[in-house]
Amino acid sequence: MKHLILLAFSACFFLDSQAQDTTKTSQTEEDYSQYGDVEYVGSETKTYANAKINGLSPQRFASIAWDAQGAHTLKFSDIGSYLPESNWTANEEGRVNYLGGLRLYANIPVISSNKLLWQLGFNYAASNYQITEIPLTGINPASKIIPVLDEKGLKTSGLFSTLYKPLNDKQFVLVQVQADVSGNYSLSNPQSLRYSRYSAAALWGKRPHDRFQWGIGMSQTYRAGALNYIPVVMYNKTSKSGKWGTEILFPARAHARYRFSASSLLLMGYELEGNSYRLEDFSTPANSFELRRSELRPRIEFQKKLTGFFWVSAQAGFRLNYSFDADNLPNGKDFFRGFTGQQPFAAFSSMTPAPYINFGIHFVSP
């Protein structure tokens, strides 16, 4: 019996050690040159168009950034005059000595596979003002926006969801929806979600090869300040050498890319930023007074790997004002003016251009 037990011991250890020994110190090689001519043991590989292309700037999972604009002049007309744009005069004027604040961003993959990518995200941006008022004569003191901006600033917080669905190895659809709460609210005095503004975009695209993807679609957007419906074009391409490329989601942003190495790159182009900011001080439950803010930012951005999956970015460019006019929305209900609508604004504004900088640190997937 002793022998039997010994035999059992030997058998099980033999089984275990044999599995190790076959590969521990030697390899039985195969003819790899023939691996171009293979068959699938089970089901075949199904290829889907990858969401990324080679060479793109790293996808950001989380970011913290600080954005600041240089000094500029800001003017507003009297609120509620509803004058034609050509006829407005300044009711107030201020020298903006500082405009900037913290920006936070998170984009978390919920499902991330080769068949489907679904991400949920959050963004927050604060615009804090330091404004010196320039006295004007004959003004309506009840209609002054500048002191409100100076005191409370502007904030935007949003949630977004992105769905990328490859249809096959070449085609894909991309859908993004976003809800933003923008205004001069604070944590202690938050803004009602009733005044959320919704954006959405849907694209159909093709990915002919690993260095090129393009797409066309439509968007409902506030990037031009007020509600608008704009066609969108995606065009991401990387040169054969990997040095040059484009990252374009027109009209929201368009950049040429130059890659110094796998861990540093430069983007040159612009971004159009915008949202509709409710000013509580001029709003009531029956109306929402909203600044239709839109800025075009031609810029260069340098991105560099800091360590591991942390990258830093530095942007420098100009902020060109596209819109800072105001609408008074009955019951907070938005309307579509587009580029050609004749609906008059509740207040007009003008703003001189300003240089701006932005520094950020990002947790990325390169």
């Binding site: 521990k24 110190t25 030697s26 390899q27 039985t28 090689e29 195969e30 003819d31 790899y32 040159s33």
Partner: protein, 167 residues
Amino acid sequence: MLKYILPIFVLFLFSCSSPVVEKISSPELVLEMEGPIYEGANTALGVWKNPLEDWLKSKNIKKEQIKNIKIVSVKFQPNSPLSEKDIQEITLQLTAKSADMQKIAFLNPYPAKSGSVDLKVADEQKDILELFLTPELTLVADININKDIEENLSSKIILEFEISYQP
């Protein structure tokens, strides 16, 4: 009072003394490939048991005193029937059961030079010490060969490394 201060002072001096760096060579290690070998990327394996055991004994120091190990040169020599003409390139990695694999050297293209050649050693080396402290260091050489060879193959390799330790 002095009897208390003196040992503390000596201990302080001891702890502040800078580490000693010594250059050491491994014995001639053998990398083996079991035939038949086909054209393409093939793997040769070798094992170095208790790499630092003898050295630690000769120095009479403990492994905790070792601060760092950096590989400074890798000499590779193919044995017949494998010759320099058959090799396109070679990449050498080290691994162990309890430590992660590290790529330490390569040569691409392999030179038309018979005998021993120096591989290009990685500038960035991490966790090499961890590998050397394992009881069994495995050498994994990926060798791209440009012809089929029926026989088993063996090659020689010598690692030269700097070991920095606190005496």
